[in-house]
Symmetry: C2
Subunit: 353 residues, 2 copies
């Protein structure tokens, strides 16, 4: 909907507060990410020029895939630049606009940066958030990329069917928690793994998983033999490594393995898989995917997922750390598995809360 351009003049009554804190990459981590791989700096809040929009950032995303981009080497996306704020998905509020389609007060999300204010020069990917669909943080969690990732992986690639046995690793996480619930809504029996007793309880009590185990308390193979004695039809892989190998040894015929990520390998882990050969005998399919290849029909996704939440097919929990200065620890903690649900940093007031 076009908005009269008179609405888009910079309102004198809305002075932009300073300073603007940025969370920058100091160095590429070797192995585990450490706080000193980052530094904070204060810069001026930029002023939009013609066609530009200034966004006050409210929620900053912390995602596992970002670890892969914190390197100068080859990944599926270019490495993050040193000495610059970390690119990330952000929910924010338009505080200044010289672009006809956006007005002060609009709630938006886009791929912005870990900072308080981002000047959006190219608004082609700036998307408005409908607060009626749920908490605005959901725009970058269950109603955004993580939710869509779960849907593509479990329904399009995993092709889960009623009565099948599904296993989800990182089951309490931003993506795994949705993947498991979508499988359950499709009529599958859903088993998950997570890294603590709290997460196990969360998945069983809040998310409706049929069975859970903590991989820190029991070898994955032994747990799977107990909980999936007849094998696994769909494995939604978030972790790779030993867990994937244990699943490869326990596939049912025509099993599907959507591979969303391999968080166990991101810090330079090199677990070597011994059971890939079983994929022939089981006629199994393993497919790596990246959500950016599946965005053609994204427009209809938030309302579709919000409907599922209204029907209680999917419940969702954001795990929000307050304060932009805590972003490095929030991110490192997420990589270590300290979060239950989607890890976000709240960098400023949420006007809808």
């Amino acid at each position: 909907m076009a908005i009269p351009s008179s609405f888009c003049k910079r309102p004198e009554s809305n002075p932009v507060p300073t300073p603007n804190t940025q969370v920058c990459l100091a160095s590429y981590p070797k192995g585990a990410v450490r706080p000193d791989n980052f530094f904070l700096r204060q810069v001026d809040v930029p002023t939009p020029g013609p066609g530009e929009v200034l966004v006050r950032n409210i929620y900053l995303s912390c995602d596992p895939y970002m670890r892969g981009r914190m390197s100068g080497g080859a990944g599926y996306a270019a490495g993050f630049a040193l000495d610059q704020p970390i690119p990330a998905r952000v929910v924010g509020e338009v505080v200044d606009s010289r672009q006809a389609d956006f007005s002060v007060g609009d709630l938006v999300w886009d791929f912005l940066r870990w900072e308080n204010y981002t000047l959006v020069r190219d608004v082609s990917n700036l998307r408005k958030i409908d607060p009626a669909l749920g908490p605005i943080s959901h725009a970058i969690s269950v109603l955004g990329m993580p939710g869509k990732t779960a849907e593509v992986g479990m329904l399009e690639i995993g092709k889960v069917q009623r009565g099948e046995t599904v296993f989800v690793s990182a089951a309490s996480g931003a993506v795994g928690s949705v993947a498991g619930q979508l499988a359950r809504a499709a009529g599958a029996r859903v088993v998950g793994s997570a890294g603590s007793a709290d997460k196990v309880a969360h998945c069983l009590e809040k998310l409706g998983f049929d069975a859970m185990f903590s991989y820190r308390e029991e070898p994955v193979g032994i747990a799977l033999d107990k909980l999936c004695p007849d094998g696994i039809d769909v494995y939604f892989d978030n972790v790779g490594g030993e867990t994937l190998d244990a699943v490869l040894a326990r596939l049912k015929p025509f099993a599907r393995i959507p591979v969303c990520g391999m968080i166990s390998q991101y810090d330079g882990g090199t677990y070597a898989l011994r059971n890939v050969g079983n994929m022939v005998a089981r006629r199994a399919t393993m497919r790596g995917f990246i959500i950016y290849d599946h965005m053609q029909d994204f427009a209809a996704f938030p309302a579709r997922m919000a409907d599922r939440m209204r029907r209680s097919e999917v419940r969702y929990f954001d795990d929000i750390v307050e304060g932009i200065e805590h972003t490095p620890e929030a991110f490192i903690g997420m990589l270590k598995g300290n979060n239950i649900g989607k890890r976000l940093v709240c960098a400023g007031d949420d006007p809808t809360r």
Copy 2:
């Protein structure tokens, strides 16, 4: 076509010669298959009862997958029974029939056994061979399962496209040789690996591969860096192990890996794969398949493949060992890679030769 039952009476003028040599499994091989895992025995030639057909076996198939069934353990098919003739695909000639659809002199193929004469009790899978399509041995090679395996793997699963870079391991073998030529006919650039200079020359000179290397003379990764410097779109995997791992590190985006077999792992090899994680970044698909799941439309296949051979899109070479008593060595040699093309044993006169 139904044949008058008068044609199916046992003709007095066609006495069945004796003896009937059977190649039986003496023991399950531990590691490499040895000649003493087999024994030969002489038995009577059976006499067909009502509804049964007696086949004189001419060509006996030696296939890599059979190694997997020479074990008491779990595979994709039941293990072969000890002290019994080895089940295998066979081309033969009907020498006695009490079944209206088959007459003496019919050339047929089916899943029979390594022996001179097989009594076929259930003729539902006994298929007649049209000698006009080519040498009758082709019914169990290029016009049969190996050819169909190549077609399913390269076209249906690999989905090869014009201009793509394709790599085929075991490129001179029964399946790989066809897979590579189908890719080339589809407009791809085709690189292959094989285990000897003779095989390399065969693939380049007789089969039209664009480039070849011997994995015994050069590490796979180094050869691939040279011959596929921009990466690999489709890898038709016959061998698994180190070769598969080298390919996983060199995938192009959206690469496909139809996994037909992993011959390098059949003798208890346990090469562990380090580069599976790259499948996420490359959005790659790996899919194991077994040809028996793809037989619904087999009836049209032999004529389709024969057409390709007539157009010289596909050339094919059977590697025939004479004498049923040499079947164990013929099989063991095939597992070691001594064959160029499809390894068969000629167990009796071919009336079309």
